[in-house]
Amino acid sequence: MNGLAVTRAVFAKDLLLDFRTRDRLGHMAVFALLVVSLLSIVVPASPTERLAWSPALLWVVLLFTSLLGLARSFQSETEGGALALLVQAPVDRGWVFLGKAGANALALIGVELWTGILFTVFLDVDWTHAWREALCAGLLGALGLASLGTLLSAMSVAVRFREFLLPVLLFPLVLPVLVLASSITGAALAERPVPTLWWGVFALYDWVFLSLGYLVFDYVLED
């Protein structure tokens, strides 16, 4: 069995699980709806202030929402004792990581699209001129969050107080995702050009943590 086949199988299995149970995506969607509607009440109503606040708020909402999904990513594996079987896959476990991270990234992209719509409805954010940049930032952001989130979720699931531990481990490390994604979104919404350097650093960040996750995941699942 080659590695790519394992990645594909894990990826397809997670997606199927998301579609059949709808737990994870449903919880994230409702949570995002709740938070964005609360924000629409407390954020100042003037259009300029909303424009200035929206990119940062959007990404903070996404970060908190993603936490729900990332935490579930490995809990579902431990519940049925599936993790013990997953560990026995006769390939480098890095491939398992890529499958799980891919499925998490796709779930996050779904949540991002949903949250983007919510921001349009509740906070009047107009994506007409910014959707390309926002979409690219969303893809890179989802990949970055999913890489680190999958790795740290696999570790925190085996430890006490995992609800506390996952955000404490994750948040300082994903600060660059938050800053880059909201800066790009902000620049695009204000119709300012996005510097190439930002895209480069963002892509590099994703590549570094996806590679690191692939390399160290063998050790993480071993214990």
Binding site: A158, V201, F209, L212
Partner: protein
């Protein structure tokens, strides 16, 4: 001259703690001498701060906080570097000693990082007019502190299991990889820095520069001594867990 001595002390401290970690039980005896040396250097540094370094004309006596703040920088980063080195070493060889070096580096690094973050605002309030400014170095140091405090939480909550060592090794490596990105991100979000570019070297009168240098060397000695004692403690912890496991079996 002072810079060369500081460099030498950093290299010696790093080399000594790594050498010590190879066989902590046999080599820990030397730690007492290093502890006594560190105490003497601290006394010398304190004497220089109080009696030798002049009082700065604009900032007044509060500027003397510099002599604590600046020397804490190198032990902070060296501690975190040892955490990454120990983490890679542990994952590759599974030798306890690497793990002990890693966790000692993180703990002692966090102590110096906390010191830096606490005394900084005490200086900043009278000089900048604010306790806290969202400045590049300040913010990234805070994020760095969060990363290694998370490391210690992970360690504490997984304590006693083999997984704790693996997980913290992985987190130590991932955390180090994130540091340049954190710098970039904070710079992007906050714009220019208020920190002086290199206060230890540029435009300081010799007496101030020498006092900062003495502080760096003294802190390096304290750092090495703390790492040594922490590694000794980690070795004792490992032995105690082993004994408990045997007793329980």
């Amino acid at each position: 001259m002072v810079s060369a001595l500081v460099m030498l002390s950093v290299v010696l401290a790093a080399a000594w703690v790594v050498w010590l970690s190879r066989d902590i039980d046999a080599r820990i005896g030397g730690a007492r001498g290093v502890g006594a040396g560190a105490l003497a250097l601290l006394a010398l540094w304190l004497g220089l701060v109080v009696g030798y370094a002049p009082i700065e004309q604009v900032q007044g006596v509060v500027q003397k906080i510099f002599y604590v703040h600046i020397p804490a920088i190198i032990p902070t980063y060296l501690g975190f570097l040892l955490t990454a080195v120990g983490g890679v070493g542990y994952l590759r060889t599974r030798r306890e000693s690497w793990d002990q070096l890693a966790v000692s580096g993180a703990e002692v690094g966090v102590v110096f990082c906390t010191l830096m973050l606490v005394v900084g605002p005490i200086w900043a309030k009278p000089v900048w007019g604010h306790w806290w400014v969202w400045d590049l170095r300040l913010t990234s140091t805070l994020v760095l502190w969060f990363i290694y405090v998370a490391y210690l939480f992970l360690r504490g909550l997984a304590f006693g299991s083999d997984a704790a060592k693996t997980f913290t090794s992985v987190y130590g490596i991932v955390g180090t990889a994130a540091i340049p990105f954190v710098y970039f991100a904070v710079d992007l979000a906050q714009g220019s820095t208020m920190h002086p570019s290199n206060p230890a070297r540029e435009g300081l009168p010799p007496a101030m520069g020498q006092t900062v240098g003495a502080g760096m060397i003294a802190f390096m000695a304290v750092f090495a001594w703390l790492i040594a004692r922490r590694m000794e403690l980690a070795a004792l912890e490992a032995r105690s867990l082993e004994a408990q496991a045997k007793g329980g079996a």
